[in-house]
């Protein structure tokens, strides 16, 4: 399986994977130059659903841009909205009530679990196991129902406002979330016994698609991809934004660098997110969720501001260049999948095509976020 392959560049053919292919989970195309079953070279072609979110930002006010953020990564939209409101609040020096910040952290972590559950189901399905998807979506459904109750939407949330939230959470949400934590802990145990320790899964993933620390540094990989390669980097802890310093949680790191390590990072992250949610509910302070003085127009002082948050797939960054107007002069979205996918071209060389698709699944791609 892992013997070095001597590739024969003069006997190759080109294989098009995508733009419509079940394994790419979106409109992504990979032009693979194949030597038999082995990949000689690959070129990823993206941009099929590019919508120019950055130009849209220049044409609307800061508040009008809020809904755009959840259209980037529709699976962990909450984290992207969080990054944007934090960026604007930091630049405009808007104070956020503590309760609002706690609720933000709770909902972001719930969204992270639901995002990882989609990845888990889809990834295992890529590898040929269909039933875990049904279980994962069942669990995810609980989160979507809870979040729908407070935010009003199931995927494309627009729940955060500058200085606070759209509305406060209610008792139903709190009791429902506590029940969910219990349920999810049981489910994670089941996933571990049924899927993680499954010999077929291990054989499919171990030593497949190794990513070195050097590769991560050159491509700027972050999130579970970097943490699966032994890089202890999580923006939630390294930059300690929002109320994350108040929580006691671990950052799972695996040193193997293979697909199985990335799989394990995400599985353990779900447990850690549960811990954060539980602590958040315990510590949840009373008080308002919006500032006393209503914020009408948001204008940032001229300057250049950068904010990063840990989204479901890695470090999501926002750069706002302001000229003092009510809409940004320039807004740049740094999406984690973009950098994580970029290293695929180099890392998949010499791999069997079946392994490469497993490797691609372990990168956890969300195409609209990559194309923006």
């Amino acid at each position: 399986m892992n013997e070095p392959v001597v590739l024969q560049p003069d006997e190759t053919f080109v294989l098009n994977v995508g733009p419509q292919h079940p394994a790419t989970h979106g409109v992504l195309r990979v032009k693979m130059t194949m030597d038999g079953e082995y990949i000689y070279d690959a070129e990823t072609v993206i941009g099929y659903i590019h919508r120019m979110h950055e130009k849209m930002a220049e044409n609307r006010t800061y508040t009008q841009y809020l809904p755009n953020l959840s259209r980037l990564d529709y699976l962990s939209a909450m984290a992207y909205c969080h990054g944007y409101v934090l960026a604007v609040e930091k630049a405009a020096a808007i104070e956020v009530p503590e309760r609002a910040e706690y609720i933000r952290a709770i909902t972001v972590e719930m969204n992270r679990i639901s995002s990882h559950l989609v990845w888990f189901g889809a990834f295992v399905m890529d590898l040929g196991g269909f039933s875990p998807l049904m279980y994962a979506f069942d669990d995810r459904e609980q989160i979507l129902d809870l979040l729908e109750g407070v935010t009003g939407s199931r995927l494309t949330y627009c729940y955060f406002r500058f200085g606070g939230l759209y509305n406060d959470i209610d008792d139903d949400f709190i009791t429902g979330t506590r029940q969910f934590i219990k349920r999810m802990r049981k489910a994670l145990k089941m996933y571990r016994n049924l899927v993680t320790n499954n010999i077929i899964l291990m054989t499919r993933l171990k030593e497949i698609g190794p990513i070195s620390v050097d590769l991560c540094q050159r491509y700027g990989a972050t999130g579970p991809v970097a943490r699966g390669s032994g890089i202890n980097y999580d923006v939630r802890r390294n930059e300690a934004y929002s109320v994350y310093p108040e929580f006691d949680f671990d950052v799972p790191v695996f040193t193997e660098g293979d697909s199985y390590a990335r799989y394990n990072v995400r599985m353990e992250e779900m447990e850690q997110s549960l811990r954060i949610i539980e602590q958040g509910l315990d510590k949840l302070p009373d008080g308002p969720v919006n500032p006393e003085k209503k914020i009408k127009t948001v204008k940032l002082p001229p300057g250049d501001y950068y904010t990063a948050v840990e989204a479901g797939r890695g470090s999501f960054g926002i750069r706002i260049v302001s000229d003092g107007d009510k809409s940004p002069y320039r807004l740049k979205l740094r999406s984690p999948t973009y950098s994580n996918m970029h290293l695929f071209d180099e890392a998949c060389r010499g791999m069997l095509i079946a392994d490469a698709l497993a490797f691609m699944g372990s990168l956890d791609l969300v195409i609209p976020e990559m194309d923006r």
Partner: protein
């Protein structure tokens, strides 16, 4: 502290000349505040400014000439920085395009570095940094898509996010759809 190390090494790129003297190692928050109140961010002299992280989100703000870019990026690579992103800003009033390079670190020695360099708007040309950071490839292609900056030496400078026959640059301020 890595900030001091990086600052010291980068300082070597800016030989102290009488006129450039104030810019080199420009005083940290005072400079930042002056910028804030004056309401004028640009243009500024090449040099290193230490920014207030809590306010700006990065520690070192370096503006340099295009021919110093590779040396500066090389220093950051050797210090263990990873590439966060590359982007551009169109300063149409100055008739210049600014390329902005973001770098950060994986370890706990938190230090975010921003490198800026400006190129004339009529003929925007910059050297590529793909030789050092392979991952700059897509970022530079994207910046070429949006701003039309030509990255000299780039291995594959074709449209990435825009259609393959795109001959427009949508993030330029005078772009009309």
């Amino acid at each position: 502290m890595i900030i001091e190390t990086v600052k010291q090494q980068l300082q070597g790129l800016f030989p102290a000349s009488p006129e450039a003297a104030p810019a080199v190692g420009g005083v940290d928050t005072q400079e930042g505040q002056k910028v804030e109140k004056g309401g004028k961010e640009t243009p500024r002299v090449d040099g290193i400014i230490e920014r207030n992280y809590a306010e700006r989100g990065y520690h070192l703000d370096i503006q340099l000439a295009p021919d110093q870019l590779l040396a500066a990026v090389g220093i950051l690579f050797d210090c263990g920085f990873f590439i966060e992103t590359i982007t551009g800003v169109d300063w149409i009033k100055d008739q210049q395009i600014e390329a902005v390079y973001d770098f950060s670190r994986y370890d706990f020695d938190l230090c975010r570095v921003v490198i800026r360099t400006r190129t004339p708007r009529s003929q925007p040309v910059l050297p590529t940094i793909t030789g050092t950071y392979t991952g700059a490839n897509w970022h530079e292609r994207e910046t070429h898509d949006f701003f039309g900056i030509v990255f000299q030496g780039h291995p594959h400078l074709i449209p990435l996010l825009l259609p393959e026959d795109a001959d427009f640059h949508p993030l330029l301020k005078d772009f009309k759809a």
